[in-house]
């Protein structure tokens, strides 16, 4: 029994040793596995960071693409939403992005694997880019029926290309045997940097304070400014006008070119910015969308390069003469010809004339001639005394450019042209001496009295308006072949009607047959305006609603309450081709609030400063948010940080009426190198320095818009302010939404201007015209015109700043 105990201790020891060995080896195995896991985790995290960096950089790069690059690489993004589904971009761009990122990774010596036989750097094995969940920005459905409502959208401006969706970018990295894939989803928007339908217009005004708001500038007969003239109702003198050039490609009209050809006309009709002069109120306090009163623009006399306006009526026979060519009247049924009177050689004609407040020998101007109806020195009329003679004042607003740079366009709204016309007889008598006279008007009784007394033709001239001897006699009854009817045809004519609302008059559009301007003859004032060519009759895009220009008592007044803007020729039926219509509605109701800037979710960034406590805080924040500071040629300038549509929310305690509480976007000059739109929800904005586009050939290539929902734009800082931007202050409320002056002399806007009101009040209410007696200049940027091919350049792909979701997975 005792012998079996032999080896017991050894057995115990061996067993314990074995158990310990198993335990220790197990522990060691676990530790080794944990060690490997830790090392693997290290490699995974390193690869993850590189993969996330990759997708972030690629996303950022995509958001920098301009229209041309988008068109090359992702043409689907520029399709109308109705024609597009989820898609991935081609391998070409993906490969280039992959190679670029690999080039970057090849500079990471810190991560190089020393044991690798080849490069040892982290490798980008794959890059994919896709666009998903795409939907239209403006596609809002009827809550009841679920149907789209394009007709409702047309009132705000409807762009069928603008869209929103998700960008999905993935990047796979291989590093020391580990493969990791990062995918990000970032919301994207394809939006146009054209702010809204109002940007189709070089100048857009919702309303005009009163019919004669613009007629306050004194010009000499030659067209030169008459500095002594004071417009007494407002107690102001003007030293310059507001010149509107409706396209930076405007053709200079020279006497050597008789007329523009069809192609030029067509191109101009399409490219030019139009002008909307909103109607004046018929009663005090009338809502904007009910106003229908006229807007009169008195064309200034003369051919002065900047301020002479008669080029709008016609063109001088030569630069040297600086006089309008006369209209010769050969009407044998009413006026006897010169051959009927032995020894006489005369012609009867008519001459168009602009308004003037002073001329040689007549310091009182056109009013003192007592020739034209509604324009005479009548002491019973307020303000109409020699120092005022305001009825002879001319328009401060030049909608058609200047003499050396004519820029005709369509004027929408009840704009009426004010000009004068007189008739004359001019000839030589039997002894070869000259004579000439201007006919005046008189009632039938006065006419009959002269006829009964066998008076000569010279007795029908205005007082002091006959020179020379009429020998032998020309009896009036022998000259006026159909009596008073014939004489009446030679009455001096003032185009401005006296009734309000006017039941007669000349629409501004009548002067030019729109873009066609045949300087060999005057336009017929008794017929509707005609298109430059019958070829245009079916092209509503060029002259929308032109067929209705012959409606109503005044030909040529362009309707503004049912106005259309189309993208392309043809397809004008909005029910059948909704995607070809950009806007359809009542221009009086168009404001920032009602435009697609606010109605549709086009805004890409929101800066909420509502809880800020001071203006300086707001100014500092908005400057840093929108711009970065660069030093260019020794001067600090503000450069936009990014493209986008930015909505700025002012602090709630801001005094919206106080110019001193207007937001200053930046106190430095702005150098534009990208496009952006800045919308301010409340209060004014002060532009304290020039805004200049770096890329400026014949127009700013980058589109910048400042849009104010409920405030005025102030130009500050002194000198002439240059602004390569579209300025819009459309509040929908009278006297809110103006361009005002805080210390500059005048301005040059290369873009356009949309304001609630522009013209002078009779009182002292501030408006653009009151604040800028030196005038200014507006050049339209045709990149804002949705009817041109340039409009497509305005599309941008904008990504949210940070990814909404990042996914990390194994790469294989």
């Amino acid at each position: 029994m005792k012998e079996y105990k032999r080896g017991f201790v050894l057995g115990i020891v061996v067993m314990v040793t074995l158990l310990m060995a198993v335990f220790i080896f197990s522990y060691n195995s676990i530790v080794r596995r944990a060690n490997i896991q830790a090392h693997h985790e290290r490699l995974v995290k390193i690869a993850d960071q590189l993969a996330i960096s990759g997708v972030t950089l690629i996303g950022n790069r995509l958001s920098q693409m301009d229209y041309e690059q988008l068109l090359d690489e992702m043409p689907e993004l520029l399709n109308r939403v109705s024609d597009i589904e989820d898609f991935s971009i081609g391998s070409s761009l993906s490969n280039r992005l992959r190679q670029d990122y690999q080039t970057i990774l090849n500079q990471l010596n810190e991560l190089q694997d020393p044991s690798a036989l080849i490069s040892g750097y982290p490798q980008v094995s794959d890059v994919t880019i896709g666009f998903k969940n795409i939907r239209a920005i403006n596609l809002r459905s009827n809550a009841t029926t679920g149907d789209d409502m394009p007709s409702e959208q047309f009132r705000h401006g409807r762009d069928p290309v603008e869209k929103v969706g998700e960008l999905v970018v993935s990047c796979t990295i291989e590093h020391m045997g580990v493969s990791r894939k990062a995918s990000i989803r970032r919301q994207f928007r394809v939006v146009s940097m054209v702010p809204g339908p109002f940007a189709r217009f070089t100048l857009f005004t919702s309303t005009t304070p009163h019919p004669h708001s613009y007629n306050a500038m004194g010009v000499h007969f030659s067209g030169a400014i008459e500095p002594a003239f004071s417009y007494e109702p407002a107690g102001m003198s003007f030293s310059g006008n507001l010149r509107i050039y409706n396209g930076t490609d405007s053709l200079d009209v020279t006497p050597s070119v008789a007329y523009m050809d069809l192609d030029d006309d067509k191109r101009n009709l399409r490219n030019r910015g139009w002008i909307f002069l909103g109607p004046s109120p018929m009663a005090f306090g009338e809502p904007l969308n009910q106003r229908e009163g006229p807007v009169f623009l008195n064309i200034p006399s003369g051919f002065n390069q900047q301020t002479g306006g008669e080029f709008m009526i016609g063109w001088p026979t030569s630069y040297a003469s600086m006089l309008l060519p006369s209209e010769q009247i050969d009407d044998d049924s009413h006026f006897a010809s010169a051959s009927a009177f032995v020894g006489h050689n005369y012609l009867v004609g008519g001459t168009f004339r602009g308004f003037y407040v002073s001329e040689e020998g007549n310091p009182m101007g056109a009013g003192a001639r007592n020739l034209w109806p509604g324009l005479s020195l009548d002491p019973t009329t307020p303000y109409q005394h020699p120092d005022d003679h305001f009825l002879s004042a001319a328009s401060w607003l030049f909608p058609y450019g200047t003499r050396t740079r004519a820029s005709r366009t369509l004027v929408v709204g009840p704009a009426m042209a004010g000009f004068l016309k007189f008739y004359f007889i001019r000839g030589t008598n039997a002894v070869g001496d000259p004579y000439r006279g201007i006919f005046t008007s008189m009632p039938t009784s006065a006419y009959d009295d002269r006829i009964d007394n066998n008076r000569n033709v010279d007795s029908f001239a205005g007082a002091g308006l006959w020179l020379g001897d009429l020998v032998p006699d020309i009896r009036a009854e022998d000259f006026f072949l159909q009596g008073y009817d014939s004489f009446e045809r030679l009455f001096p004519y003032n185009s401005l009607p006296q009734n309000n609302p006017p039941d007669a008059g000349i629409a501004f559009n009548m002067l030019f047959d729109f873009m066609k301007y045949d300087r060999d003859s005057y336009p017929s004032l008794d017929a509707p305006p005609s298109l430059a060519s019958t070829d245009f009759a079916g092209e509503d895009i060029l002259v929308p609603g032109h067929s209705s220009l012959s409606d109503g008592p005044i030909y040529g007044i362009h309707p503004y309450n049912n106005f259309n803007i189309f993208f392309q020729d043809g397809q004008y039926n909005t029910a059948v081709y909704p995607d070809n219509c950009y806007y359809s509605g009542d221009l009086r109701e168009l404001s920032i609030e009602s435009s697609n800037l606010m109605v549709n979710p086009r805004v890409t960034h929101i800066l909420d400063m509502s809880n800020y406590s001071s203006l300086s805080e707001e100014n500092e924040r908005v400057k840093r948010y929108l711009f970065r500071t660069e030093n260019i040629a020794g001067v600090d300038v503000s450069v936009p940080r990014r493209s986008g549509i930015f909505y700025i929310m002012r602090r709630t305690t801001a005094d919206l009426e106080d110019p001193d509480d207007a937001l200053v976007l930046t106190d430095l000059p702005v150098r534009l190198d990208r496009s952006l739109i800045v919308i301010c929800n409340d209060g004014g904005v002060k532009i304290a320095a020039d805004i200049i586009c770096n890329d400026f050939t014949d127009r700013p290539e980058n589109l910048f818009t400042i849009a104010l929902r409920n405030g005025d734009i102030f130009l500050a800082g002194g000198g002439t302010r240059r602004i390569d931007a579209y300025l819009a202050a459309l509040s929908g409320r009278p006297q809110v939404g103006r361009l005002l002056n805080e210390g500059v002399y005048d301005f040059v806007i290369n873009g356009g201007l949309a304001v609630t009101e522009l013209g002078l009040h009779q009182g002292f209410t501030r408006t653009t015209m009151r604040d800028f007696p030196s005038g200014g200049e507006i050049n339209y940027n045709i990149g804002l015109n949705p009817s041109t091919e340039h409009y497509f350049d305005a599309y941008f792909l904008l990504l949210e700043d940070s990814a909404s979701r990042i996914t990390l997975t194994g790469g294989r």
Partner: protein, 177 residues
């Protein structure tokens, strides 16, 4: 007969010999495993420390241009470059007690942006952030901007460290301005 009773001396000797043969390597193995375990713990910690920084920098990346401009305004140096706002003194990032807020700096002045960092384990010797501009001359698509690599370095020593050579981890984040 008496000598045959109980455990023989030979047996005990053999048992001791076997035990001695086995226990020595096993203790060595156990010790090695412990060191390895500690090493992997440190490596995991190092990954954590580095990731903590890289995640914050990645989130700050969209605001870095703002931060840089702020630095330019505060210092009055208009040509201040991105790497200069990442210039922390190594001691600022090396602490062992409580979590700490580390502000971005320019010319000694604190900027608005900051990193929040956890304290290091005592075995960690270094935590640095270095930014270097990358050469973009060969890039096709990315050539419009400046690119930087942010190198996060964590250095520590553990029981596996031999010859006073510490271990380090480098993590890289790529940013652009």
């Amino acid at each position: 007969m008496k000598s045959r009773v109980g455990v023989s001396m030979v047996e005990i000797t053999i048992a001791l010999f076997v035990a001695a043969l086995a226990i020595g390597p096993m203790i060595a193995l156990l010790s090695s495993s412990n060191r390895m375990s500690t090493a992997s713990t440190y490596e995991t910690l190092a990954v954590y420390y580095a990731t903590e920084i890289s995640d914050q920098i990645r989130r700050l990346a969209p605001q870095l241009p703002d931060i840089l401009e702020d630095a330019r305004v505060k210092t009055g140096v208009s040509n201040l470059e991105m790497p200069s706002i990442f210039s922390w003194d190594p001691d600022e990032l090396l602490f062992y007690d409580n979590a700490k807020t580390v502000f971005f700096k320019a010319a000694g002045m604190n900027l608005d942006a900051r990193l929040i960092l956890t304290p290091l384990h005592r075995n960690f010797l270094r935590r640095t952030i270095d930014v270097q501009q990358l050469d973009n001359s060969a890039l096709q698509e990315f050539d419009a901007e400046s690119y930087y690599k942010v190198i996060i370095t964590i250095e520590w020593e553990d029981d596996l460290t031999q010859g006073n050579v510490s271990k380090e981890l480098k993590m890289v984040v790529i940013i652009n301005d």
